[in-house]
């Protein structure tokens, strides 16, 4: 008997028609499949690379290494109301245009123009080539023919996205779909107090998304983070989401969460009691006004957290005490990726609020350290020669089924496109 109502079909999985068979994770252990993902997904979908607050004034820029898409890009505020993205390559001899100290590391700063370190070619913030060293030595070189190679770049709710497919015809807003529309208007821009973490994880990128889109593991893997009475209650109760919503390639999980503040103070650790904060964030939430309809869509009283997965690799978690966590998973090979997690808060008014935020941030870190290492344990085994190749998924793991299914669809569509049409007999 479920604690929360399920769709008429009896399960979320059947409601969304995803099938209930066990599935293989061969899509997470194959270098060849990863090469297909790079082309079919990372090379042609909208990817979130940052937020507008990172580009505070004209000339502010940052670079992003997009291994999965096979390029490095530079994102710049070219004008007051214009953000542009370029392939990070000089048109002269192909040197990486923007980097500091280590060519492979990301860089950020502010400039009036981009100057190549190699031969001093200069580009305006809008990409125009403005200066060529000893221009007269070249042969019929017209600077207008050599601007920086630009990339489609659009902003949704302050989040900057790029699409590396020059032929892409789907505007970002359309790609974000109903899921994005239902979240529009959330005051992300007020949450300018940011803590960002980064980890190199020894697993396929999808496996970490899998871990963060199901909470079935939470009462087990993270049991020691709860006080013991609470831990046994959690394990007995297990986990059920309030609701799941899938829209095209995107999806969301709506979860309960009564920990901010808890009903009974003995449920939480001493540090949480004294700082009035914890995993779900500071208990004394800032007032940010009414929330958009995509947050707690079931309007459930027990609601505590809304987790969105925007395909392929961007998650937004909206917590009841009015703060936000984002996750990015950047593949670096079929069995490694870089994970980035950022906590966004309304800036604290005083030192005590800052301390309450610190506890939320550090709790997130401790959980992630547990999750990250568990993933390496999963990756090594699904990659091994063990005969175990098919794995069941329960209804609370619907987001996993959906993600792997969506990846399959993108890869299949790409393969079909690549195949030449059969010649008429």
């Amino acid at each position: 008997m479920p604690h929360f109502e399920k769709p008429a079909e009896g399960s979320w999985t059947e409601h969304y028609g995803l099938g209930t068979l066990p599935r293989s994770y061969a899509d997470s252990t194959s270098p060849a499949f990863y090469e297909l993902e790079r082309e079919a997904i990372f090379g042609r979908t909208w990817l979130n690379v940052g937020r507008v607050e990172q580009l505070s004034r004209v000339g502010s820029f940052f670079t992003k290494e997009l291994d999965a898409a096979g390029t490095s890009i530079v994102i710049v505020r070219a004008a007051k109301d214009e953000i542009k993205a370029f392939h990070n390559i000089c048109r002269h001899r192909g040197n990486k245009l923007v980097w500091t100290d280590y060519p492979g590391e990301e860089s950020k700063g502010s400039c009036r123009q981009f100057t190549c370190k190699y031969h001093g070619w200069r580009y305006a913030l809008d990409g125009e080539l403005t200066f060529v060293q000893q221009e007269e030595e070249f042969f019929d070189l017209d600077k207008a023919d050599y601007p920086l190679a630009d990339i489609q770049c659009e902003v949704w709710e302050g989040f900057i996205f790029v699409n590396l497919d020059a032929t892409n015809a789907t505007p970002l807003e359309e790609f974000m779909g109903e899921t994005g529309a239902s979240l529009a208007g959330y005051p992300f821009g007020e949450m300018t107090q940011v803590h960002t973490y980064r980890a190199e994880v020894g697993s396929n990128w999808k496996l970490f998304i899998d871990a963060f889109t199901e909470f079935y593991h939470a009462p087990v893997l993270h049991v020691r983070q709860a006080v013991s009475d609470e831990a046994s209650k959690l394990q007995e109760y297990g986990y059920e989401a309030l609701a799941y919503k899938l829209n095209g390639p995107h999806g969301q999980v709506s979860s309960w969460g009564g920990m901010s503040p808890p009903k009974d103070l003995n449920m939480v650790k001493p540090i949480e009691r004294v700082l009035r904060s914890g995993l779900f964030g500071p208990w004394d939430a800032p007032d940010i006004g009414e929330l958009p309809p995509g947050v707690n869509p079931a309007q459930h009283k027990a609601w505590g957290i809304e987790s969105f997965l925007f395909f392929p690799n961007f998650m937004i978690l909206i917590w009841k005490p009015n703060w936000v966590l984002t996750y990015h998973y950047w593949p670096t090979s079929y069995n490694t990726h870089i994970f980035e997690g950022s906590c966004y808060f309304v800036p604290p008014k005083n030192g005590a609020e800052r301390l309450a935020q610190e506890l939320a941030v550090v709790t997130f870190k401790e959980y992630s350290l547990q999750d990250g290492n568990t993933l390496e344990a999963t990756q090594t085994m699904i990659e091994s020669r063990t005969p175990v190749k098919e794995f069941p998924l329960n209804d609370q793991e619907i987001m996993i089924r959906h993600l792997h299914h969506t990846v399959d669809e993108y890869v299949q569509a790409f393969r079909q496109q690549q195949q030449p049409a059969p010649s008429p007999a």
Partner: protein, 117 residues
């Protein structure tokens, strides 16, 4: 603190918390330094720090609640950072009973961006 701050040997803490000066090694301005120190400190050292500071936390929180975040004076920032160290250490003492996160192996999870204070 800016680079121009003149280093003085006494620990700059609010007067009410001057007695916490012996814990000054835990005044660390970044999360990474705080976590590294936790990992490098044996459990009895972590427990001793926890036992010394935790009973003062209620008072510290009440004090810090009166200090505006913008333009926070150095003495309050030092107290804040010491309390942040307690947050980091509390997981070892209250949850793990060991400095490291259990089963975290060689995994690392590093702050690449955090507030200056």
């Amino acid at each position: 603190m800016s680079d121009t701050t003149v280093h003085v040997p006494t620990v700059n803490l609010p007067a009410e918390f001057a007695d916490l000066a012996p814990l000054s090694e835990w005044i660390l301005p970044t999360e990474r330094e705080r976590y590294d120190k936790r990992i490098a400190t044996p459990m009895d050292g972590l427990q001793a720090f926890y036992d010394a500071l935790f009973p003062r936390m209620e008072e510290a929180v009440a004090y810090l609640a009166q200090v505006p975040y913008d333009g926070m004076p150095d003495d309050a920032a030092n107290l804040l950072w010491m309390c942040c160290s307690l947050v980091t250490v509390s997981f070892a003492v209250e949850a793990w009973r060991q400095p490291r996160v259990p089963d975290s192996g060689a995994a690392s999870f590093n702050a690449v961006l955090e507030p200056a204070i």
